[in-house]
Symmetry: C2
Subunit: 589 residues, 2 copies
């Protein structure tokens, strides 16, 4: 049900409808849209601060320009809620029954006003340059506007984009949305320069954008609608690239978000009155256990350096930072830097522990190959979000097994429990031979003892020794493995073996040989993509033997906001489906 | 035999030995070392211009500082020959019999004066920052010097490094070696800013480095030894990060290299007198065939854009640029930019063809995932150097099948001949559904007709229909496949089938079903890493069937300057070894 049938927004079906409104009406829209951001985010979770802060930029863009003839490209696109409200998708914000119709990022399949599905930072300038080059080749006239936050500027691709933007001799409007924040705090010298520009109202002679040959205009209050309208009017149809340095307030118009920008960058569902999360945080977490261990090790004198690329909150790292600030390094949103500087630290005798998410670590793939794997230094890395799960396809975290386990020298470990994870972490920090990556489990904390302490030779845990079928359950899929083994017993009276392979990169040849002797079928279960995954490594190993293999995981595809249970059904990952598939194979033998 | 027993260099066993020399002697060393660079490169190939240009910086560094207590980190490290000559490895340049003892890049296993094995650009600042952070945590005092070329600055990681360098409150000396060149010409607005700094002798108020909070000092002639010594003396033991903007001449001291910096960036063996290549270029090449096709298509009105990230020479692209400059885009050394801007161009109706090398494309992995695959726009991409081959481990090009074939939506094609490659290219450009990547063969040009024109459904080419054993030979390994089939007939009297699978991502289920019925063993041959490769995809497919699989390719390891024939022996990739392995499997059945 539309919660606000009285809202002026109800009359806005496309940006064209804005053109008739006066300033007061546009301001009323801003107020309504802020309320809608808060209502939706508090109900289903989402980005708060970025959307509140960008309200006036969005309204002014659609008031002045003619979308989709003129085009706006949102960096990360987590700030595109107001844009969506004005481009035919208002019901996704007015009516809770329709919240699910609209994703949290730009989506070409939703609207002609969206051009890319985007969720990672620092891409918008490069995309806009490509659009401009295409426009010029086709001899068209259109305004192209890219909106990039100051926080996104620390990522190398943003710089590569700016460098190439300067080569254009045609229209390009780059809005640097300077809200003086990243996801967490901004990091690096770049922000001193931006601060100087703010202090001098854009007059400082030292100007990164001008240095690179870009025109430049400073806008002191990007949350003032009249100013933004005037600004966009002044640059509409400009014949060369220009940077609009627009200062906004992250979370503008909602005091709690203004006061706590990191907390309100993205929030899980929360109570609008109290500001508290709707769901209490779990009593224990894998992240907290890791931080506890690291604190103890620093206390004991181990020269640990904890490194994050701008997402300390995802790893409980603020607790570490508070206690040992000299051991804590946030490089900003700059994943390449996080990996390469860790390689150097490891080479120089420090024990770096790098905290990455599966989806963002993709941005440092060459640094994993050419810096970390090739130099084979003892970097320790924790990877979160390596899982088949609901959520946006832009952040799909199921590729890490493929891109990490195929690299030389790296040991990629997948613990099944908190005890095993800590055992692996202790070994990883103590050894000095190879880079070790640990795939932090994402499901509820499990307690099971570790069965080895030195992982330089992987010794499979054979949790149950049976025959005929062997189930190899990786990391977070351990519980699934137990369920499959239980159902095999119950339904088919098969006494299947259950194995914890621990490593995604190295195999225990002795145990695989044992499997070969006692079993007809080896089943692998992994919480990630099958292509290039763990299962394929096992399938290759057994390819020329009499043992058969059956691999379960995700197919080579993106899934956008599909509930995990639905994905499990689609991908044949429920215990029932797995047992059925096993039965079919056994019958065909 | 030492060709120059009379050289002063013979007395230099370690940098310490320089300290006694006077300026004239140091200059004599520079002259000798230039000659040695030319002799070695002309004999065995190597980087020319970078090493000639950096001579005085290197001599001054080792004269002023105390390596390895003080440390120099070379970006790309292709300019490290003079450094190697001064740090105990002179014989690798004086004596042709010892050329093979010393690699073309820094190598920690060669010397304590090298800290990383490096061959990709833009890493040195990030590495030096990591070293500095480690040094500070350990309470040590040492000078850390990173040397980065202006060409390397266009890569995002360089910017991420500079941004974080500014956070240090301790010694860090960043030498920006401004030789006004990249591998090819510099690209982007950044170089306007650097030009303005050169024009004003570093006095311009607009200064990228100062903008980011870094101290700055300009050096007009970095090929003047006295100046460089004085400069390093002035900043030795400095207590904060400083950029030394040092202007040098690429190829300094050798007129042909000064005159043609791109040609002399890296050269295959050449005649020092005539300047001509020792080995004539082959009559025909895959690259030339691609450019011919693109020229025809542009001529016919197809809106092609050819895109390179700074390596046009590797793809015959200068010929395209000359004819259609408006269709040609060199983004500089900025692989992320090359992919993301291509995605935008494809979205906007242009047909971008992106030219990448297997090893450098690693630097755009997230752009392949999050921009290209997720948005599934019709980018066409040519990948060179995807092969198991001799050469530096820093440029190992055997990972592309793993990192590309595991991604959704992408079609990764491996042609076996020039005709098949062009047929694939024509389809890739004509279709608008998916990103298509074509793995350009690296072996001698092969002529075989294509067996399909529309690759939206892969139809395996069954070149020979036999039984018992089926050999699937991918791309460049086609000839190997033919040899294996011939030897199977000759040695084992097996009439093996020979299949060209064409695609590294999609399978022909119908033909695989046929294979299953008529054969006991499927053998895969791929010119790349086995982990996450083509063979594993086939092994998984057949895992639960009665058919056995055997995969040939490279193991999960780096190989540094190992001749291809030796690698083939190591990896069981000779026809004899493959046939032996097949025989063993058949006997065990």
């Amino acid at each position: 049900m539309n919660l606000h049938p009285d809202y002026l927004l109800n009359d806005i079906n496309e940006p064209q409808d804005l053109k008739q409104l006066n300033l007061a009406q546009l301001q009323q829209l801003a107020t309504e849209m802020r309320q809608l951001v808060l209502e939706r985010d508090s109900a289903i979770g989402g980005h708060v601060g970025p959307n509140l802060g960008i309200m006036e930029v969005t309204l002014a863009f659609h008031y002045v320009f003619d979308s989709p003839h003129d085009k706006v490209i949102w960096d990360v696109s987590h700030q595109s809620y107001p844009h969506k409200m004005l481009t035919g998708r208002k019901l996704g914000f007015l009516d809770p029954d329709h919240y699910g119709d609209v994703t949290g990022f730009t989506a070409p399949e939703e609207s002609d006003h969206d051009f890319f599905e985007i969720g990672h930072t620092s891409t918008s300038v490069a995309l806009a340059v490509g659009m401009a080059q295409a426009r010029d080749m086709r001899g068209k006239q259109e305004n192209l506007v890219a909106v990039i936050g100051d926080g996104s500027l620390s990522g190398g691709l943003a710089f590569e984009g700016l460098n190439n933007a300067a080569k254009l001799h045609s229209n390009l409007i780059l809005v640097v949305n300077d809200n003086q924040n990243s996801i967490a705090s901004n990091q690096g010298g770049l922000y001193e320069g931006l601060a100087e520009l703010r202090k001098t109202a854009g007059q400082s002679a030292n100007n990164l954008f001008k240095f690179m040959g870009l025109d430049y205009r400073y806008v002191a209050d990007g949350n003032d609608l009249a100013t933004m309208i005037e600004t966009f009017r002044a640059v509409k149809d400009i014949d060369h690239p220009i940077v609009l340095h627009v200062v906004t307030q992250k979370g503008a118009g909602y005091a709690p978000a203004e006061a706590a920008p990191e907390r309100y960058h993205w929030r899980a569902p929360f109570d609008l009155t109290s500001g508290e999360d709707r769901q209490a945080a779990p009593q224990e977490s894998y992240s907290a256990a890791i931080i506890d261990e690291l604190l103890q090790q620093v206390e004991a004198g181990v020269p640990i350096a904890a490194i994050t690329a701008g997402i300390p909150g995802a790893f409980d790292l603020h607790r570490f930072e508070k206690q040992y600030p000299a051991h804590y390094f946030d490089v900003g949103i700059a994943e390449q830097m996080s990996v390469t500087s860790a390689v150097a630290m490891a080479q120089a005798g420090i024990r770096p522990v790098v905290f990455e998410s599966s989806t963002f670590l993709q941005r440092a793939y060459d640094q994993l190959v050419h810096d970390m794997a090739l130099n084979s230094v003892p970097v320790v890395m924790i990877v979160r979000g390596g899982t088949i799960s609901a959520g946006s396809a832009t952040h799909q975290g199921s590729f890490d097994i493929s891109y990490l386990s195929s690299l030389p020298n790296i040991e990629y470990l997948a613990p099944t429990s908190v005890e095993e994870m800590l055992s692996m972490l202790r070994w990883a920090i103590a050894q000095t031979e190879v880079p070790v990556v640990i795939r932090q489990p994402e499901k509820a904390v499990l307690h099971r003892p570790a069965t080895q302490t030195d992982y330089s030779n992987i010794d499979y845990e054979i949790a149950h020794q049976g025959s005929e079928v062997a189930v190899m359950a990786v990391g977070d899929f351990w519980t699934l493995g137990e369920e499959v083994v239980a159902q095999l017993k119950r339904k088919l009276n098969i006494d299947a073996s259950l194995i914890n392979p621990k490593s995604l990169t190295n195999i225990d040849r002795e145990d695989l040989h044992y499997l070969q002797e006692q079993h007809d079928l080896v089943v692998t279960l992994e919480d990630g993509n099958l292509s290039g995954g763990f299962g394929e490594m096992i399938a290759r190993y057994f390819g020329a033997t009499n043992i058969k293999t059956l691999n379960f995981g995700a197919p080579r595809e993106f899934a956008d906001n599909v509930p995990t249970e639905v994905l499990a059904e689609w991908y044949h990952l429920t215990p029932e489906q797995i047992v059925d598939d096993i039965e079919r194979v056994l019958h065909s033998m």
